[in-house]
């Protein structure tokens, strides 16, 4: 499916607009969705109800309100960890706990792409709790290299990498 706006790039963001009870679907590529977001962000000011705005973006029953926008995704249940259900989250515009990001991933991801223009952190990594993430990243890149050596039938190098990976994995288990 191609983007309704530019008709060039594939549509990755699907928006259901409900205006005066009339439902219409808009399918946008990331770039055009971002441009839409910029339009909206012009309205940001001190008194702008950002929570309500986000709630509108998240809300699956926002159709009751006229002129609201909601993401066209199925309605999930509740977070096992904090007990927050999707209704609460969409009303407050706030997630209940760190695990809500996982639990409501299919709702939060498109929202992040739209509000933040990105869904991947490239900044600071905490030293202690981020330690395993650093190791994971290293193991991933070694595995890719290992595969390369296997493909090239360079088994000696592959064996060396395998040992290296095992060593790192031991470090992670500790």
């Amino acid at each position: 499916m191609y983007c309704d706006e530019c008709k060039k790039r594939p549509a990755t963001v699907h928006v259901t607009k409900i205006i005066n009870g009339q439902k219409s679907e808009v399918n946008l590529c990331e770039e055009c969705a971002r441009a839409h977001h910029k339009e909206w962000s012009m309205a940001y000011d001190d008194n702008f109800p950002i929570n309500k705005f986000l709630a509108g973006l998240l809300g699956f029953d926002a159709g009751k309100a006229t002129g609201s926008v909601s993401l066209n995704l199925h309605a999930p249940g509740k977070c096992e960890h904090c007990g927050a259900n999707y209704n609460q989250i969409s009303q407050s515009g706030r997630l209940g706990c760190h695990q809500c990001y996982d639990r409501f991933q299919d709702k939060v991801e498109p929202l992040l792409r739209r509000v933040q223009g990105s869904n991947r952190h490239t900044g600071k990594v905490p030293k202690r709790s981020g330690g395993s993430i650093r190791l994971q990243r290293e193991i991933q890149s070694l595995r890719a290299k290992l595969q390369q050596h296997v493909n090239n039938e360079e088994f000696e190098q592959a064996a060396r990498l395998r040992d290296q990976i095992r060593e790192l994995e031991k470090g992670m288990a500790e």
Partner: protein, 354 residues
Amino acid sequence: MRDRFVNQALTKWMEGTGKESEIVISSRVRLARNLCNIPFPNVASKAQAQAIVGQVEAAIKDAEIEETAGDLIFVNLEALEPLDRAVLVDKHLISPQHAEEASGKGLILRADEAVSVLINEEDHLRIQCLFPGLQLEEAWELASRIDDLLESKLDFAFDEKLGYLTACPTNVGTGLRASVMMHLPALVLTNQASRVLASLSQIGMTVRGLYGEGTDATGNLFQISNQVTLGRSEEEIIANLVVVATQLIDHERMARQVLLKETNPQLEDRVCRAYGALTSARIINSQEAMTLLSNVRLGIDLGIIQGVSPRVLNEMLVLTRPAFLQKLAGRELSPFERDVQRASLIRERFSLDG
């Protein structure tokens, strides 16, 4: 010790020092952080909220943190009177939301007030660094150091893909909101402010008027901050904002030169009338005071008014706020009484310099 933060009006960022301090009033960096395995403050139970306050209080009592970050004082907000909390809001040390419902909330302050850590506001932790003038890099470095120190004792909620997890998706990633408070009277006088500032929202910056209703900036003060917190590194966010602030400083300086050259008598009249009103008024509301103070400050910066400290605007920003006036009076004041008190305080302040 605790009372000092409330009773002492002046705080570091009002000193009027730091780079570009004739245009940039203050630089602020805020980092949102949450602890693992405890619901965010909007969902956490009272017991969970108190447990967080306890954990953070214990973490800052660690000697290493005090050594690096300086003297940190823990304040339980429940123990403060509502008026005292309002004073801390006026000093930009805590947010209005944090002051409103004090139950299960805490605050860590450094003695010089450059650092404040809000516990259980929207997120478990909000690390804030507030410096005078344009010092965003410095504020970020200090905030990051305090973040490291707290992280060495506390488990922060962090996701490999999404970064630091926050209650509101608009803060996820770096959790970093950096902002500069700028005094831009010449851009406003030359009718360039709305155009220039509107263009900022197109490059991912948010502009707000300080203490203003809606978008109306009172006293020609504007707060410019980054909108996006995910997909860019902290250094990129800070560098972008520095570039934007520097451009605004250049624009403002050019506009000031234009004003000086072309409309000298009108400008002098505006500035001197403002000075006259501030040193003579017996009743003055907050909005009028801010407008006049902004004009006087411009007059000081352009050399039209001499012998008045440029700090006068920065100080009066806080001193003439309702909570401070009531604190000084030692009782609750009606809006009319506040206007009288405000006028008298301003006259007193100007007579010190004059």
